[in-house]
């Protein structure tokens, strides 16, 4: 039998080897083009490529992974020759050397000047504009027979609409859409002149107040995300919508509509002006040196290609030398693009989004005045943009490290040279043969990255240009960067939230897990196996999927929980208000906890079942004979017996929960105001959304690690003392 198993195993290994190597062996020759297009845009791109004279290898990358994929490949001379991305990232890409200057000149007048300006940094043309995207106004021609020219006219539609419908659907809580409103008041998210935060002052405050009044009068839905805007408009429940070309792609012929310029706002008489995103073709350094790749860029940006894109994907070309499209939607977006303002591509702009988004949401929740919300956004912006710490002298640390490692090595040698030490090591040799593979694998691919990652905590600067700053990162974190130590977002406050998060979660995991384990192991249970399988299902489905499902259930207007509340109201005649889950810390935190408890209780349940299987029956019978009640048998006998085998699982569970980044990120996203962020999600923000401050994020990681290490050692000690 064993021989059979071994042969089978060998077969599996061989098969795996073949499968793993098969598809990787692709030729280096074709030009490699990366993009994040989907649907019609992807189709258009494929059609364009098909007419290219040369071999192209297309790769559709998930949007979320696009930048990090470029960052991890292009600087190493790998990755694509050519890629398509939004112009906003050019500034960052240029700094990292991911993008090279375009090695040819654009025909004068062939492209919209705004688009060319958007892809030019410091006088260098870094990409060739492809298409332009911006928001425009969709009008449901059934619901609004006239063409409203001002926001106020749109608002005036509201009373005539059935309940549950809105006059205007747009993502009011997002800075991207709000930028258009802001522009009508003469403001901008970023002051382009000074490259400084621009979302402040009277213009910003008035824009916010206008939106607040639109929401409070029921003109605009308050909680709309992109999907909801689409759904509302497609269902004929929104007379107008502010959205981009993607809405047209999703609509089909669900409702009769037309697209026009964003309206003006009576208060200023100015037109709303959206942000413009220029999708552009970029060349990696090795692409710029490859004639085929350059030829591909020219092919992609040719008028013929633009026509294919217009026909297949209805995208607005950045070329200025094409005839006005006959497609009214396209023409309208083209006209809107001319009025739009390209999003700045500087690092400062990237630092604007998070503070601006939070300020808008905070104000719209009615928590604070507009001025206070904006002032806080300003502070957040300054906090992220604070000057990096000065370089520190590494010599003292190097000396310290050197002498420490010398001392350590000396100690080891000394111990090894004593007879006992040597004998002990000789006795250990057989064991070392068994652990060797594990040591190498974990050492190289787990521990080494951790050491490097921890090392980064002592550095600052851009990923490829870091310099030593000593303990400055830690100092900044632990002093809350000069703000009051207990201000929101400071290390101590986030730590408190994290501890609360961990304790509450583990308590629920344990409580529900143990309770279900106990119930399932009762002899009266029928169909035990079936229930067991059904109960571990949450564990089997990928958590990023279910976390998003939970987020959907918590949606204030359309979530299942709100549905449940309606059902209860109908049934009992009560009048419970739907809860805006992510508007308050307590409810947002509860939503996160509910999700994570759901994800985590099956593990504890299974561990409990296992531990219960090991409880000797006679002990329970003895307790019963001794006159212990059910509850006493449980609390005095069963639980103490299973406790020791549960402790390791609880320890690991606590560690995982402490670092459970997925749920917080996907469910509440830190809302409201970053208060539900835990330490890991804070670290993540510093690493990936706040100007890639890896050193700073690494310092967070090291602090998390130290906290966990110390806590686990202390509890270990306490527990061992308890035993002794």
């Amino acid at each position: 039998m064993l021989r059979g198993v071994r042969a089978g195993l060998a077969g599996v290994v061989a098969l795996l080897a073949v499968l793993l190597t098969s598809a990787i062996a692709h030729a280096e020759r074709p030009v490699r083009l990366w993009h994040a297009y989907r649907g019609a845009e992807q189709q258009a791109l494929e059609e364009i490529i098909a007419s290219f004279d040369g071999e192209v290898e297309l790769l559709a990358v998930p949007y979320d992974a696009f930048a990090s994929k470029l960052e991890s490949t292009v600087p190493l001379g790998k990755g694509p020759h050519v890629y398509i991305d939004a112009h906003e990232r050019l500034g960052d890409f240029a700094e990292r050397g991911i993008v090279a200057a375009v090695p040819f000149e654009l025909e004068p007048g062939a492209y919209a000047s705004k688009a060319v300006a958007a892809v030019t940094i410091d006088g260098q043309l870094l990409a060739v504009p492809l298409s332009q995207k911006c928001l425009a106004l969709y009008i449901n021609t059934d619901l609004s027979t006239s063409a409203p020219a001002t926001l106020e006219q749109i608002a005036a539609l509201a009373p005539s609409l059935p309940s549950g419908s809105f006059a205007l659907a747009y993502e009011a809580r997002g800075a991207y859409a709000h930028a258009a409103v802001l522009a009508a008041f003469g403001g901008a998210l970023l002051d382009v002149e000074t490259d400084d935060f621009g979302f402040e002052g009277p213009a910003a405050a008035r824009s916010l107040e206008l939106v607040a009044s639109l929401i409070s009068t029921g003109v605009v839905p308050e909680d709309a995300d992109g999907a909801l805007v689409t759904n509302l408009f497609a269902a004929g429940q929104a007379a107008t919508a502010i959205s981009g070309p993607w809405l047209a792609a999703d609509l089909g012929d669900a409702v009769p509509y037309r697209v026009t310029l964003l309206p003006t706002i009576d208060a200023t008489g100015e037109r709303m002006r959206p942000l413009l995103t220029v999708e552009a073709v970029m060349l990696s350094p090795r692409g710029a040196a490859d004639p085929d790749a350059v030829r591909l860029v020219q092919h992609l940006t040719s008028p013929a290609a633009a026509q294919i894109r217009a026909r297949v994907a209805r995208s607005v070309s950045a070329r200025a030398d094409l005839p006005v499209s006959e497609d009214p939607v396209l023409a309208a977006f083209a006209a809107q693009a001319e009025l739009a303002e390209p999003t700045p591509s500087t690092a400062a702009m990237r630092a604007v989004w998070e503070p601006a988004n939070r300020a808008i949401r905070k104000f719209l929740r009615g928590d604070v005045s507009a001025d206070a919300a904006l002032a806080e956004a300003r502070r957040r912006f300054d906090d992220v943009r604070r000057p990096p710490p000065p370089p520190a002298e590494p010599t003292p640390v190097l000396i310290l490290l050197g002498s420490l490692s010398l001392f350590g090595a000396g100690l080891l040698v000394h111990r090894a040279r004593t007879r006992d030490g040597l004998a002990a090591i000789r006795r250990s040799l057989p064991a070392y043969r068994y652990v060797a593979l594990g040591v190498i694998a974990v050492g190289v691919l787990v521990i080494l990255p951790i050491l490097f990652g921890a090392g980064a905590a002592f550095f600052a600067g851009k990923p490829h240009d870091m310099y030593y700053v000593g303990l400055a990162n830690f100092r900044e974190i632990l002093t809350a960067r000069g703000a009051p130590l207990l201000s929101s977002g400071s290390f101590y406050v986030v730590l408190a939230v994290t501890v609360l998060w961990t304790v509450v979660n583990v308590a629920f995991h344990l409580g529900i897990g143990v309770a279900l384990g106990l119930v399932l192991s009762r002899p009266v249970m029928r169909l035990r196996g079936l229930y067991r399988v059904l109960l571990i299902v949450p564990w089997a489905v990928p958590s990023y999927v279910t976390a998003l499902a939970w987020r959907g259930m918590f949606h204030r207007q359309f979530g299942a929980i709100t549905g449940l509340i309606h059902a209860i109201n109908n049934l009992l005649g009560t009048n419970i208000e739907p809860i805006a889950w992510f508007a308050r810390f307590s409810t947002a935190f509860a939503a996160n906890v509910a999700t994570n408890v759901w994800l985590g209780f099956p593990f504890m349940m299974v561990v409990t079942l296992g531990a219960l299987a090991a409880v000797p029956k006679d002990v329970l019978e003895a307790a019963e004979v001794d006159g212990a009640s059910r509850w006493q048998r449980l609390s005095r006998v069963t639980l103490p017996i299973i406790a020791p085998s549960m402790i390791p699982a609880v320890t690991l569970g606590a560690i995982w929960t402490f670092n459970m980044f997925n749920v917080v990120f996907l469910v509440s996203g830190g809302d409201p105001d970053g208060t539900t962020d835990i330490l890991v999600s804070e670290a993540y923000r510093w690493a990936f959304t706040r100007e890639a401050q890896y050193g700073y994020a690494a310092a967070y990681a090291v602090l998390i690690f130290l906290l966990l290490l110390v806590t686990s050692r202390v509890t270990d000690r306490l527990m061992n003392r308890g035993k002794a």
């Binding site: 064993l2 790769l59 009762r522």
Partner: protein, 287 residues
């Protein structure tokens, strides 16, 4: 009295469990309903029932194909499903092959560095991946494993090792040492005793550990999205991520894909769940 009490207990126990089952299935049924809905309701719903039921999203996800440069058409989704399964099985096989001897040594041998090693393994679980991801890429690059599925498998396998070692160590510790000694007296070397006696006896625990390692790889997408640069080499979570774009997301496709992705794991769970109780229970996951 007992019959009455038993009946009451049975009713209460079943009520509790059925309630818990509802709790555990409800969000998943939402995903299912989303996957089979032809449109979305703008009224909050209580029951996850598909609206205008349709198989279209499922067909679109599962039916994805790709035209090769030579003009032939391949079933892309099938290929990617196979990738996911292959990568995950490879991860589990490699991870377990590494973890088994390591765990055995921790369970059975006294050696210099044993305690420290165990602590170090626990400590690796404490460091957030946020800060170790970038160095990991550097190391993979140095090993010329970047952009390969082998690199991906090695990364997954290594990350799965610490937990697998905890698991297996307690499983091995629960096996009476007499068995190995009997085998050694019977004429086996230590290694033969390990392979022919300990491993077969520890099979339930190994099955459970296999499942965990499989899942580490099967559900992961950040590394996969970053490391893989051939559509034909993508794993399913990466494909799912593709349905979420910069401006909008195809939730119906996402949900349909999520269901297909979950099916193999559910199947594995179903196969392994009987062992799971015994496997995790054998002393629990001792730290």
């Amino acid at each position: 009295m007992t019959r009455r009490a038993d009946l009451l207990e049975a009713i209460a126990a079943h009520a509790v469990v059925i309630l818990a089952v509802c709790f555990s299935l409800y969000p998943i049924l939402w995903v299912v309903s989303l996957a089979f809905s032809g449109s979305t309701s703008l009224e909050p719903q209580v029951l996850p029932i598909p609206i205008e039921p349709t198989l279209e999203p499922m067909r679109e996800v599962v039916g994805a194909t790709r035209i090769e440069p030579d003009g032939s058409e391949i079933w892309l989704f099938g290929r990617q499903l196979l990738n996911s399964v292959v990568v995950s099985i490879a991860t589990a096989v490699v991870g377990i092959s590494v973890a088994i001897p390591t765990a055995y040594a921790f369970a059975r041998f006294e050696f210099v560095g044993r305690r420290e090693g165990m602590r170090l393994l626990l400590a690796t679980q404490m460091f957030p991946a946020v800060a170790s991801a970038v160095p990991l890429f550097m190391i993979l690059e140095a090993l010329e494993l970047l952009n390969t599925r082998t690199g991906l498998v090695l990364c997954y396998a290594s990350t799965s090792v610490p937990f697998a070692v905890f698991q297996l160590r307690s499983a091995f510790e629960a096996i009476p040492i007499d068995l190995e000694e009997a085998a050694m007296v019977d004429g086996a070397t230590r290694f033969e005793a390990f392979v022919r006696v300990v491993l077969p006896v520890a099979r339930p625990a190994i099955a459970v550990t296999f499942l965990f390692a499989f899942m580490t790889a099967y559900n992961e997408f950040i590394l996969a999205a970053t490391l893989l640069d051939d559509e034909r080499a993508f794993t399913l979570p990466v494909v799912l991520q593709r349905f979420i774009g910069e401006y909008d997301a195809r939730w119906d496709l996402f949900a349909a894909g999520a269901i297909v992705v979950s099916l193999p794991v559910m199947l594995l769970f179903y196969q392994v769940q009987r062992h799971m109780v015994a496997g995790l229970g054998a002393g629990g996951v001792k730290g």
